[in-house]
């Protein structure tokens, strides 16, 4: 079987849903596929209130933002088809792609594709890191907040970025004891208000520390931690044991880029954005002119900026097919201004730097 669409959106997280909504609203026939059972991406696991501007979803819980985005796409259902449990498995020549649902493989012919595949979790090398009971933070969130299953009773968190801090807080809310949080850097990586939230509920935050090994044979029974020096080398005789039945790794994300490589998009390595990302311009267009990118696949950031970049990609993808549009221009201008504000200030420094590098490579600045 084969399907025909104008705009083909891969991934139904905040970026993909926003891109599909804008493209369909402007008038493009749009198909969105997502490999999970419910669209919403990581938002459906986010029980905390979002930061950002109160003009756009700040102060609202992530799960509520997912509901809002789903409501948005239901309003353009006449032009937008959503396929859940369906993965995009490959790009071919002549604007064709393959999708795989439960048991059926289909071809999709598109005029513009927007790839919003998000990211994968990083792991960490330490002794016994393959013991049962060692999870990525996304896995813990899926178990806990999607399926209602506690990953353990006493958990050690590794990584003090916003994900490590927020998941620690969610674990406490779920009734799990967080026995400590370990961070290799001398300072906390995420927002300090998130750190204070878990600290005042009794979670010790060990900066300038690392995990040397997990203890246990059949499963996690504890961990050995130690101090690290300014070169992240273990300081001798500073080892100590901590009891836990679960270890959660929140040590960063890497953009999920296989499809771009298949579509022969030029890639560029930008450490600030999480690794290899498809080179793209400020319209979110990659070096393959029919393929756009938005969200974490274009560089690790967060949901609000993913929504805005998705809106830009959706508007520009529509224009690729239907020609210049003042409505599309207005959406892009508004999203760019919001992105500029959100990325300003000291916490946005690394992202700004990484984004500038991508645009420089693309010849835009």
């Amino acid at each position: 079987m084969s399907r025909n669409t104008e705009v083909f959106v891969i991934g139904g997280g905040p970026a993909g849903l926003s891109a599909a909504h804008v493209a369909a609203k402007l008038g493009a026939k749009t198909l969105l596929v997502d490999d999970s059972a419910r669209v919403g991406g990581q938002l459906i696991k986010q029980t905390h209130r979002f930061f950002g501007s109160s003009n756009r979803d700040a102060g609202i819980r992530g799960i509520t933002i997912a509901d809002k985005l789903q409501q948005d796409i239901s309003e353009v259902a006449d032009r937008l088809t959503v396929l859940e449990n369906t993965a995009a498995v490959g790009f071919y020549h002549n604007k064709e792609a393959g999708i795989l649902s439960q048991n059926a493989y289909e071809r999709v012919t598109y005029q513009a594709a927007i790839v919003c595949t998000g990211a994968t979790e990083n792991s960490l090398t330490f002794e016994n890191n393959d013991l049962p009971g060692i999870y990525g933070a996304g896995g813990v969130q899926t178990l806990m907040n999607v399926h209602g299953i506690k990953p353990g009773q006493k958990i050690l968190m590794v990584g003090s970025g916003n994900i490590g801090l927020i998941v620690s807080y969610q674990l406490i809310q779920a009734g799990v004891e967080v026995v400590g949080l370990v961070e290799g850097m001398p300072t906390i990586g995420g927002y300090l208000v998130h750190a204070s939230k878990i600290r005042r509920l009794g979670v010790p935050i060990h900066t300038s520390h690392t995990i040397l090994k997990a203890l246990g044979t059949e499963g996690v029974e504890g961990a050995v931690l130690c101090r690290v020096d300014e070169k992240f080398q273990p300081v001798p005789n500073t080892e100590f044991e901590i009891k836990c039945d679960c270890i959660c790794l929140a040590v960063g994300l890497t953009p999920l880029i296989d499809l771009f490589q298949q579509a022969q998009c030029r890639m560029v390595h930008v450490g600030e954005l999480g690794g290899l990302v498809p080179l793209h311009d400020s319209s979110m267009r990659t070096t393959n002119p029919d393929i756009f990118v938005a969200g974490d696949a274009s560089g690790i950031e967060e949901a609000t900026t993913a929504i805005l970049a998705g809106r830009i990609a959706g508007a520009r993808a529509y224009e690729t097919i239907h020609g210049k549009s003042a409505d599309a221009d207005a959406i892009v201008a508004e999203a760019r201004e919001e992105l500029r504000t959100l990325r300003s200030g000291s916490t946005g420094e690394r992202i700004r730097w990484g984004r500038e590098r991508v645009l420089k490579e693309a010849g835009e600045c």
Binding site: R49, F51, L192, H194
Partner: protein, 160 residues
């Protein structure tokens, strides 16, 4: 220090504390948000427009203590749970602290709970004097506890 262990030191707290003269007038907010992050729901939450950000959304909030009425509407709007309202004019020797509470169970008025400091250390037993938890707050309850006056800037969480 806050950036190393998540605990705000007294020196770090000083710039956001209301002046003594303001404390004598009754309830007032303390916004313990000391980092430039892109976030501004507190600004629009304030009915008297007492919260401002000079440099835009990534600036720290600045509270006009004279304009703040201590109403507490900003407390549940802060995604960082970083806003507290303190009232030094409660009863002789006692003050109140109002804070966000997002853990179950939500305490009831009159209940005795355990007070914790910024490091999660037990300070002692305190009495809940008010709980506000309407649907509009979307499961962020605002709990007010009665505390010894000298603990008003030390107690920042409760265990029910």
């Amino acid at each position: 220090m806050l950036k190393n262990d998540g605990i705000i030191t007294p020196e770090e707290l000083t710039p956001v504390l209301p002046p003594l003269a303001r404390l004598e007038k009754g309830p007032v907010a303390i916004i313990e948000c000391l980092q430039d992050i892109p976030c501004d729901p507190c600004v629009s939450a304030c009915p008297t427009k007492a919260i401002k950000m000079k440099e835009g959304i990534t600036d720290k909030p600045l509270l006009d203590f004279a304009a703040c009425t201590g109403c507490g509407l900003c407390i549940p709007k802060c995604p960082g749970l970083a806003i507290f309202v303190i009232n030094m004019k409660h009863t002789a020797g006692m003050a109140t602290v109002s804070m966000s509470h997002e853990l179950l169970p939500v305490p009831e008025k009159g209940q005795e709970v355990t007070a914790l400091d910024r490091a999660g250390k037990v300070v002692g037993k305190v009495k809940v004097v008010r709980v506000i938890n309407p649907p509009a707050y979307d499961r962020t309850a605002v709990v007010t506890v009665e505390v010894p006056a000298d603990q008003v800037n030390n107690i920042r969480a409760i265990r029910v």
